[in-house]
Amino acid sequence: MTARIGVITFPGTLDDGDAARAARYAGAEAVPLWHADADLRGVDGVLVPGGFSYGDYLRAGAIAAQAPVMRSVIDAAAGGLPVLGICNGFQVLCEAGLLPGALTRNAGLKFLCRDQRLRIENAGTVWTSGYADGAEILIPMKNAEGRFVATEDELDRIEGDGLVVMRYVGDGHGQGNPNGSMRDIAAIGNPAGNVVGLMPHPEHAIDALTGPGTDGLAMFTAVVQAISGPVGASV
C-alpha cells in the first residue's frame, strides 16, 4: 500500500509544493488538502508546510490555526495520525494547541535564511525514527519568527517529558542557536510522538541539487515506513 500524505495549503502557504515533493521522494502519494475543507480525504499522515499563512500578519500561524481543516487535524492527531508542522506549520500547530509553547520574533529581529546544524534529541517520534539519538543533521532554516518560547515551568515540563525533538547546535560563524530559542529548541513533539513541529525545513534537504544535502529525507521516509509497514516503502 502506498502511503498517502496530505499537504495542507492555506492562503499564503509557500512550501506546499516542496512538502509534497518530499513526500513523493519518500515514496508516498502527496494529497493536497485545502484550508477551507474539513475533509482530510483519508490520508495516513499530514504535513503542515511552511510559508506565511494569511501573511502572518497577526501572529505567525494564528489565523490559519482557526481554519476548518485544522479542526479535523486536531481530532485526527488525538487519534494518532502522524502530523508534521514545518516552520509556519509548526507555528500553526502551537497556535492550534497541538504543541506547547509559542514561536516569536527572532532575537536578531531579521528574517534569517541559512543552513543549520541540528541534533536529534528524540529519535522516538514517528517522524524521527530514521535518525539515531544524538545524530547531527544539516538542513536549511528560513524564518522571521522562529524563537521558541515558553515559561520556565513549561520548559521544564517539556524537557522532563522528553518532548524536545531537535536542538540547534554547532559553533562558529553562522551556526549555533540562530534566533534566541529558549534552551536551543528547534523542534518539539507531543507525548505520543505522532505530532512534531520544527522550524528548519527538512523538505529542502532531500536532494543535493537544490539543498545543502539530503539529511532531511529521513523524516519523510520514516513516516512512510511507519505507515506502510517495514517493507512497504518503495522509492
Binding site: P11, G12, L14, D15, G17, D18, R21, G50, G51, F52, Y54, G55, D56, Y57, G108, K110, F111, L112, C113, R114, P140, K142, A144, H173, G174, H201, E203, H204, L209, T210, G211
Partner: protein, 766 residues
Amino acid sequence: MSTAQQAAVDTVARAASTPDQPQPFRELGLKDDEYQRIREILGRRPTDAELAMYSIMWSEHCSYKSSKVHLAYFGETTTDEMRSKMLAGIGENAGVVDIGDGWAVTFKVESHNHPSYVEPYQGAATGVGGIVRDILAMGARPVAVLDQLRFGPADAADSQRVVPGVVAGVAGYGDCLGLPNIGGEVEFDASYAGNPLVNAGSIGVLRSADMYTAHASGVGNKVILYGSATGLDGIGGVSVLASDSFAGDETGAGRKKLPSVQVGDPFAEKVLIECTLEVFAADLVVGIQDLGGAGLSCATSELASAGDGGMLVDLDQVPRRATGMTPAEVLSSESQERMCAVVEPAKVDAFLAVCAKWEVPAAVIGEVTDSGRLVITSGGEVVVDVPPRTVAHEGPVYHRPVQRPEAQDALQANTSASLPRPSVDELGGLITTMIGSPNLCSRDWVTNQYDRYVRGNTVLAQPADAGMLRIADDSVRGLAMATDSNPRFTALDPYAGAQLSLAEAYRNVAMTGAVPLAVTDCLNFGSPEDPGVMWQFSQAVRGIADGCRQLGIPVTGGNVSFYNQTGTTAILPTPVLGVLGVIDDVRRRVPAGVGGAGDVLVLLGETRDELDGSEWARVVHDHLGGMPPQVDLAAERRLAEVVAAAADVGLLTAAHDLSGGGLAQALVEMCVIGARGASVALPAGLDPFVALYSESAARAVVTVPADRIDELLALCADREQPAVRLGTVDADQRHGVPELAIEGVTTLSVADLRTAWQATLPALFG
C-alpha cells in the same frame, strides 16, 4: 457622497460648457504646450479626470518622453537572428524568450528609487511587488526575484536608516510571496547618499504557447478589476485637483498632503498570483494588465489602445476602501496588488468564482467597445472620453539637448598612474583591507535575509556568479540570471562602462555553465534636462545596443529612471544590465567555490595594467579618474564559449569571474566559499600588484581535476583562449588549517579571510 461633492465632479459636458475654466496643469507636471495638445486632441478642455490621466501617462516615468528617441536604437541594432528566440520584446510588460522544449522565460528589472528614500521599507517592498505583477501579466508564474541596491557611504548616518529598511523591505515582501531571491548587487558610493537606488527584478516561467499580452479585444468582452480595493494611496500630485477652487470643498483641501507612499500587502499579492495563475490555467482570460505606477489610468488606456480601440468603464463599480474619492483620484490611485483582466461574457462567472475561492475581491468595471474611445463614467455621467492611444502611446517626445560635459576630459586625464602603489610586502595587508571594504565584503548580511530555497528549484544562489533555477520539478533544464552595473567605469566613459557592465553580467552567467540568451536593463541616471546627463545616457544606450549586437543577444525590455540626484548633483550613471541564460542540464552547473583537493587553478584571459576606476583606487585612494579597462566583447564571447564547452564535458569543478577587486578578490572568494586552501604562483612577467588588482575584463579563474588539466588546456588552445596555470587547491593543510598561499607575496589563513570578508556589514548594520 454629499451633494456638494457630487456637484463638484467635472464631467465632459461641464468641460465643454466651461472652456475657459483654469486648470492646474502645471502643478500636475504638464508643460503649456502639452496642455494645449490635450485640448487639441479633445477639441475642448480636459475634465479633471482626463487631466489626471494625461498628466500621469505623459510623465517621464510612464511615457519615456526623454529616452524614447534614444531607446529606438535598441530596435535598430537587433538583427532577425537575435530576434529569433524573442516572443515578446520592448513595449510589453516584460520581454519573453523561448528557451526550448516548449518553455519560455520572462524577466525584467525595474526601479523604485525615490519611494525607497522616503520610506525605505515600504518603498523597497512595493518595488518587489510591482515587478512581480509585470511578470505575472505575461502569463508566467513568477519563480524568482533579484534586487540591485545602491546606497550612500556605508558609514554615513542616514545609511543606518536606509540600508536596513530597504533590505528588510525586499525581504519582507519577497519572502512572504514565496519567491526565492537568487541574486543582485549591493554598492555603496557617496553619489547615492540622498538618492539610493532600489532596483528589483523578477523572472517568470511559462509554456511558450500560453503567453498573454495587455490588450482588450472582442467587443462586448468584460473588463474585470480584481485584487485589493482602491484607496487614496500614492495619488500624490493628483490631489491638487481636489484642492481649493478645483474641487471646491474642504475635504479636498485636506487631502493635498496625501503621502505618495504605498504600503505593500505581500499576502494579498500571493493570493493574487495564485488566483491569476488559476484563471490562466482555466483559459478564462483574453488579455491582462497589472496595475502599476499609473493605476487604472494606465491599465484602461493601454488595454484599450492595444485592442479593438474602445472601452467603456464605470468607476462606480471599482471596489474602494476610502469614501468620497473623486474620479481623478480613483483613476490615479496607486493602490498595490491589483490586476485588470479582459474576459469573455460567458466566462465571467467562472472567473469570479476563482476569485472567490482565493478571497480576492473582483468586480466587472466595464467592457470592450469598438467606439475607438475610452469612455469612463462616474455617478452616471461621462467624466472621460478620449482616444486611448493618445493617452497611452502618443505622449510627447523630446529631443533633449545632448552635450559631452566639459569636465569629461579632465576626468579622463586624471588617471590612477600617479597614485602610489603598494610594495610586495604590503600586498598581504592590502588583501585583508580590500576584502573587508564595503563594496567587496560578503553580502550575506543582506542575502541571509532572503529566502533562496523556497519552491525547491534553486540550483545556485548566493554566493554564486549567477543565480540558477531548474525550470520545473520534472525537468533538468535550467535558467540562470545575473545583473551588474559598474557606475564608476560608466562615469569615466559611458559607452565603454555600459558595455563593461553588460560584459560582467554576461560573464557571470557564463561562469555557471549556462549560455547567455537575452538582456534586460534598468537605466538609472540624473536629470534628463541636464545635457551632460543626456550625453551619458545616450552613450550608455549605444554602448549596450552595440554590445548586445556583438554578443548576439537581444535587449528584450528595460526601464529608465531619471532625476536621480541630490540637489543638482546627479548620481554616478548606473545602467544595470541583467543577462538571462539557459542550461540544458542543471546537474552540470559550475559553482564558484574551489573544487576538490588537488584540482588545478587556471586563470583564463589577459591581464593588463588597468587600475583606473578600480576598487583599489576607490578603497585606498578614494580616487575616480582615467579610462576604464579595455572592452573586448569578442574575448568575452570566447571566454563564455570555453567555459560552456568545458562545463558540458564535466571538466570544471569551479569557475569564478574576475571583476571588482581583480584576481585577489576572486581567489579569496573561491577559497572561502569552497572552504579550502590553495597554493598559487602569480603569472610570470606581471607585476604582482597588477596581477592581483587589475580589473581587466574577460577573465576568470576555473578549477579542473588534475587528471583533466591537459584536456582543458587543449580546449583553450583550440579556441585561442589565453590560459595560465595558477596553482592547485591544497590537499594537505600546511599549518593544520586551510590557507591561501600566494608565492612570494603572502600566506593567509582562510578562516581569517572569511572573518575579514564577513564581518563588515554585520558590524555596520547589526
